[in-house]
């Protein structure tokens, strides 16, 4: 492996780590959304304590669906590290 390829790989690995960090900015959205949903659920239970079971079911369902975008971001971030960074890292270590 020449020096140019080596530093090329190093830059790609660094870019992958920066990119996977940036992908997780998407975690802001689900955080706000789930917090809002939980707050509304607490309000609803305070108003009607006897409906707690049903409210909990719909809260968890709604929170889970709101979480999808965060899960996509996590998956993309993990895959960038596992698919691109790890093989190149192994190549560099093997050198």
């Amino acid at each position: 492996m020449s020096d140019v390829t080596f530093w090329g790989y190093v830059i790609v690995i660094a870019a992958v780590f920066v990119g996977s960090g940036l992908a997780l900015i998407a975690g802001i959205g689900p955080g706000i959304g789930q917090g809002y949903a939980a707050g509304k659920a607490v309000e609803a239970i305070a108003r009607q304590p006897e409906a707690e079971g049903k409210i909990r079911t719909y809260l968890i369902l709604g929170a889970a669906i709101a979480e999808s975008t965060g899960i996509y971001a996590l998956a993309i971030s993990l895959f960038m590290i596992l698919m691109f960074a790890s093989p190149l890292f192994n190549l560099i270590v093997a050198r």
Partner: protein, 217 residues
């Protein structure tokens, strides 16, 4: 602990069997054993294992009937199986030196694909092929690509949700193990195994019911 390639335990006719599949099989065997022991001598007044089994079944029964109505009774065994199975798989991470099989995408995504086929099979069975295919052209024919992407996205997010939460927990535990090798990783492991494990298996089951119910209508 954090391996990308699964460790191959042994091979059956050249097919590699990784470690998490062995854990899954052990969990399945224990669940079948429990089900057999709990229902061996049924009594009108349940106690012991039969009581636990009836409690779990009535929980899933109320869950399915609440969401799907009387027509969902046929799905109670399936949903209860998915719920108890994912819960046991999540909990298996609490055993020392055992990594929960739900921290691998293979396990969770295959469960999600299974739910996908059940939901769409239900739709074809209840409404017929024509009405099933016509549902993709609702509300307008040009929405077809959106509907197709939506169906694929459901499967992906269903599988990735359980995997992402459990694998994220594993990564957190691993990072804390590097920083503080004592006590802290154990507490984190219990948190991610018990609390996140129970909540996520419940979410997985609820979403399975919701996806089947959406297709069944």
């Amino acid at each position: 602990m954090l391996a990308i390639e699964p460790a191959i335990v042994f091979r059956i006719f050249g097919v590699p069997v990784p470690d998490f599949v062995v854990v899954t099989w052990v969990v399945m065997a224990l669940l079948v054993l429990f089900a057999y022991m709990a229902t061996r001598r049924l009594q009108a007044v349940p106690r012991g294992a039969q009581n636990v089994a009836e409690m779990m079944m009535s929980y899933f029964e109320s869950m399915v009937v609440d969401m799907m109505g009387k027509s969902g009774v046929a799905y109670i065994p399936l949903i209860a199986t998915i719920g108890i199975f994912t819960l046991s798989l999540n909990m298996s991470g609490l055993i020392p030196f055992v990594t929960s099989p739900t921290t691998r995408l293979d396990t969770t995504l295959s469960l999600a694909v299974f739910v996908f086929f059940v939901a769409h099979g239900t739709s074809v069975y209840r409404k017929g092929v024509r009405a099933y295919l016509k549902a993709y052209l609702e509300p307008y024919p040009f929405m077809l690509p959106m509907n197709l992407i939506g169906e694929v996205g459901k499967v992906l997010s269903h599988g990735f949700r359980l995997y992402g939460n459990m694998f994220g927990g594993l990564v957190m535990t691993f990072v804390f193990y590097q920083l503080v090798p004592w006590v802290a990783p154990g507490i984190l492991n219990i948190w991610f195994g018990v609390f996140v494990g129970v909540v996520q298996s419940m979410v997985f089951t609820l979403l399975a019911v919701a996806y089947i119910q959406v297709q069944a209508e």
